[in-house]
Symmetry: D2
Subunit: 356 residues, 4 copies
Amino acid sequence: MIVAMQENASEEQISHVIGRLIEIGFEVHRSTGERQTVLGGVGGGDTPDIGWLEMLPGVEHVHRIGSPYKLVARRFRPEGTVVRFPNGVSIGGEEVVVMAGPCSVESRDQIFAIAQEVAITGGRFLRGGAFKPRSSPYSFQGMGEEGLKLMRAAASEFGLLVVSEVMEISQIGLMAPYIDMFQVGARNMQNFNLLRELGKVRKPILLKRGIAATIEELLLSAEYVMAGGNYNVVLCERGIRTFETYTRNTMDISAIPVVKELSHLPIVADPSHGTGRRDKVPAMARASVAAGADGLLIEVHNCPDKAVSDGAQSLYPVQLARLMEDLRSIAPAVGRVMSSIDRDLPSVPMEVAAAN
Amino acid sequence: MIVAMQENASEEQISHVIGRLIEIGFEVHRSTGERQTVLGGVGGGDTPDIGWLEMLPGVEHVHRIGSPYKLVARRFRPEGTVVRFPNGVSIGGEEVVVMAGPCSVESRDQIFAIAQEVAITGGRFLRGGAFKPRSSPYSFQGMGEEGLKLMRAAASEFGLLVVSEVMEISQIGLMAPYIDMFQVGARNMQNFNLLRELGKVRKPILLKRGIAATIEELLLSAEYVMAGGNYNVVLCERGIRTFETYTRNTMDISAIPVVKELSHLPIVADPSHGTGRRDKVPAMARASVAAGADGLLIEVHNCPDKAVSDGAQSLYPVQLARLMEDLRSIAPAVGRVMSSIDRDLPSVPMEVAAAN
Amino acid sequence: MIVAMQENASEEQISHVIGRLIEIGFEVHRSTGERQTVLGGVGGGDTPDIGWLEMLPGVEHVHRIGSPYKLVARRFRPEGTVVRFPNGVSIGGEEVVVMAGPCSVESRDQIFAIAQEVAITGGRFLRGGAFKPRSSPYSFQGMGEEGLKLMRAAASEFGLLVVSEVMEISQIGLMAPYIDMFQVGARNMQNFNLLRELGKVRKPILLKRGIAATIEELLLSAEYVMAGGNYNVVLCERGIRTFETYTRNTMDISAIPVVKELSHLPIVADPSHGTGRRDKVPAMARASVAAGADGLLIEVHNCPDKAVSDGAQSLYPVQLARLMEDLRSIAPAVGRVMSSIDRDLPSVPMEVAAAN
Amino acid sequence: MIVAMQENASEEQISHVIGRLIEIGFEVHRSTGERQTVLGGVGGGDTPDIGWLEMLPGVEHVHRIGSPYKLVARRFRPEGTVVRFPNGVSIGGEEVVVMAGPCSVESRDQIFAIAQEVAITGGRFLRGGAFKPRSSPYSFQGMGEEGLKLMRAAASEFGLLVVSEVMEISQIGLMAPYIDMFQVGARNMQNFNLLRELGKVRKPILLKRGIAATIEELLLSAEYVMAGGNYNVVLCERGIRTFETYTRNTMDISAIPVVKELSHLPIVADPSHGTGRRDKVPAMARASVAAGADGLLIEVHNCPDKAVSDGAQSLYPVQLARLMEDLRSIAPAVGRVMSSIDRDLPSVPMEVAAAN
């Protein structure tokens, strides 16, 4: 904690500030220069609210030294976290992990058809929403538990893992049997009660950055989960809100290397929500991998024009396949690999294969 | 719905788009000019997701006509909504209603002392948090139900109403007996499940704008509550996140007249969170009233330097009193009044008065 | 200058940083706590680029103490600057000064008609553009010197002063004879060569905040002008670019009290550009005055629907008159006055009065 | 042009709007549905200012159809523009062109040493500033013409082209003999007078996106240059200002594929200014190429810690070399190539090689 006093601060004001700093647990170093006195507070425990210090008479500026998070900091695990899943897949290791699927689960046919495509192209996770938060009260709101069952069945059929969004505490128990990773959506990134509960869960958490959240705030939210005892957190950059409206959000690709520096947690990218436009997804997926992303979250739909939600940003299966090819060329350039298709090719059941 | 086709769109592409528009319920008008064909879709019900239309071959641009909300629209109640409370106070009428109190309820002494100040200066509501969402997991998290009881007791003592933040569905029943208005915080503005439940409640809702929410999104969230049957919604401008960091947020004062044009709902302003700095609160409170705000939400603390949260933005009681004086001059200039102090002066119990 | 070293910084790294700080002129105070070493640099002259320090091995964070500006700082002139004009009008004193006029000078009839309205309602300055920077190369580009002559003539006729935008160094000499204050537009706020030249001019400068400029950057730009010897600078808040698109820009009303704290320079507000919508101008003008603005810059047009530029944000004369009435009620509430109409009423020449 | 009338618009209001549309040159199509009338205006020439239409009584919303630019639009040159330089290098073709050099030219030794490194690693352009716009009036302001001479000499020695920033019209003639491409900085992106002059120049223009400029505004600025007759424009994404402060700006990588869709002009990326931090430059350079950038603008300095400006974002030569290696792996994955080093290796003069 550094407290810079105003140039004309009185000795009494300086003493008062020193007293208050000591009171909240700091050891204080005083530097008085020709023009200005600067106080350095060392120690002092956790004092996230420092604004009131800045309002004390004679204070010009208060600056916090050190990061407000601990467990998510890179130095807590300099070697980096690898989040491992039952079937041997892991996020944060050498492989760039692709999670793909529709915005919403709509029907058995839809989710099985898409799951097959995801598996064939080398995806590892089936993603899909069962509970859909929508900004209009008049929109489709999701299939609920039935959707989760269908997703689990489709994923198992094709050797995939399942990731799906949890929207409130009451859904945690309901979802747990069907999924391999809980996704926390951008709107819930600072739903601290939910984060606290997810800290007690024994499944990995995929935590998406809020559209107005700084990288530091994203890390503080991950700290909530880790503080509860769940160290398997995967972060996700999915675009922030800026003045540019051509794309739905502005994908902050630089968040990927920044998170890699500040934290040991893996980070994946979601170019579908990041751009909101199908035709921009491949370029941003390639950019994310080139920037060091540990994985991708991509919306794909067998019939995007008829998707009940987010059709505009869902890839056609053939586009996903083409993108995966490109990524197989780019990944090695950054010391990574994509999953081998041969090794993973699921045994496609006859009837589904025929139906396609 | 307007669909502008690309200049080189083929007749087949145009027919396909017309077909899809008719399929989702629109009556289509076609205008073919020298360079370009434009399709106008009339009717068509609720189609919040129009992105997929823009991705159809040959389409240049899709533009939605009309607002996506209905119940919150000004034309639904051109005369404006007045939200009335049991004790005769109302928001949206002639009076500019002041709601003041600490960020968090901390103790009986604290909340009684502050309630007295609020009442004496002409405030109508005691505000205060019992459940505190904090961005660091290591911060104070609120007194819970005990805090609600204290707030209710203090408010009743001094003739005030109570407004406090509800953070999740499970708190609604717990809070209802103690409060007069539920506050939905900025972070929950798009917690649609919570909004839906609050639509069934028989108490008014104070809905704060999210830091990255557009005015349209704020109105859509209010629509969620109204669609559930609860028409008593008060909106609140409390600052948006921009590149300027001198103030904690940038208070969008223009949202006040914009909401007044688009909607019949009352709107109040929160200059405490809007600026994050005590010394800027009075100027922004005055500006809000001058711009037409129906009320103010202000943090005040009897000892801001020792507040467990948000002390930097809490006024000293004497500052609140001075601000109320200024507002008594400004309100008439915009055809409004502040509450008369004489009429409202609570009978201050001897022991509390002595304690101060 | 505060340099916080990383927790694991080596003694060698610390010594290297100390050496570099001394090299660039700082006296260094070292505080080594249990976990971390913090270096305080005092003195050191002007070192605006501190980024390279942060990149030195072992450095966690560098924080500049003190503001990068000097002459614009409040402490340079604690009593505040009052910019005085030949006819006795001054900005920064008790009076809230209104400057109004069309976006562009279009014709003699137009500018005389508008000047009369401005004078009658109590305005002090006629504003108007002679050189129009437009984002499309196919738009009207201004009347040039002819426009300046007309503005000067109209202003003199009705006892007004003239403020008009200078867009490049070559226009300074051309404009000087016709105007009383040079306006620097938002797009030129960081045209440092232009600012330097204006520092040598003997007329006041109205410096508008850029749409993406922080308050600190606005002050640094004013420092450029003052550093050249011209101390008569008036700042102007005119809206910043945010994600909200309902208004053209988001007017940052809080910049008014912030500038008042940080600087001695007067600040006016431009609600026309700040909102881009005529119907929102009055509310934002009132809010600006209530927040402490020293003046207003308002677009008014005798026939806004036919204005060649910015018609949508120009008030009708009758709206300006009504707004001035409102301001006469609000100004006293913040210890200010509007100009008395009686005192100022210009002698309206018969033929012009008849023509209206 | 689409004009949606309010639901309760009168027939008189509708007629008035139709009349005004015809007056400014539109052919009007009227669609009256059950609830609302929508007017479609076709033709109509250039009407960049449509705001006043929206203010007409009875109008709900006005929406412009079609882009406000013509010459920069993709359809003007569907095959894409390739900007060719005298020595055979071209931007917009198969090769990803690297332009590297210091922020400012500081001395002969410095620029020669850096030029050699740029050439050796496969760069094609030497970049460097001779006139330095700085936000503080107390900073280094550039070497001027002497700097240009040194840059030209160094570039010629090592077979490089020169790109340097022009800041005002008066510098165009001075700079022309020394440079191969004029750079327009972010702060001058809307300096329309400068753009107009550069439209008459016979050298290519590198136009950087302003920190608060939308992609559409960037394209409109390019239109200014092309409208003057200079069709050799290269765009540059260099980061926009957002609420995130960890990086100096937020690099909008998605602007690369968006520009590729909307325009035929080449686009390069500047990860040095885009991030402001040396350690983030390689990741963002890789991401830019993966997203389809036609080139890179990179700051490199032989001694970044002692650079007079922007040292924090300048790569060490060895970092540039390593980055170029990575790019040689990524470029082919997106169908591009980097320059072959063997083919380009300049004959390094003995004395310079020895001096290094």
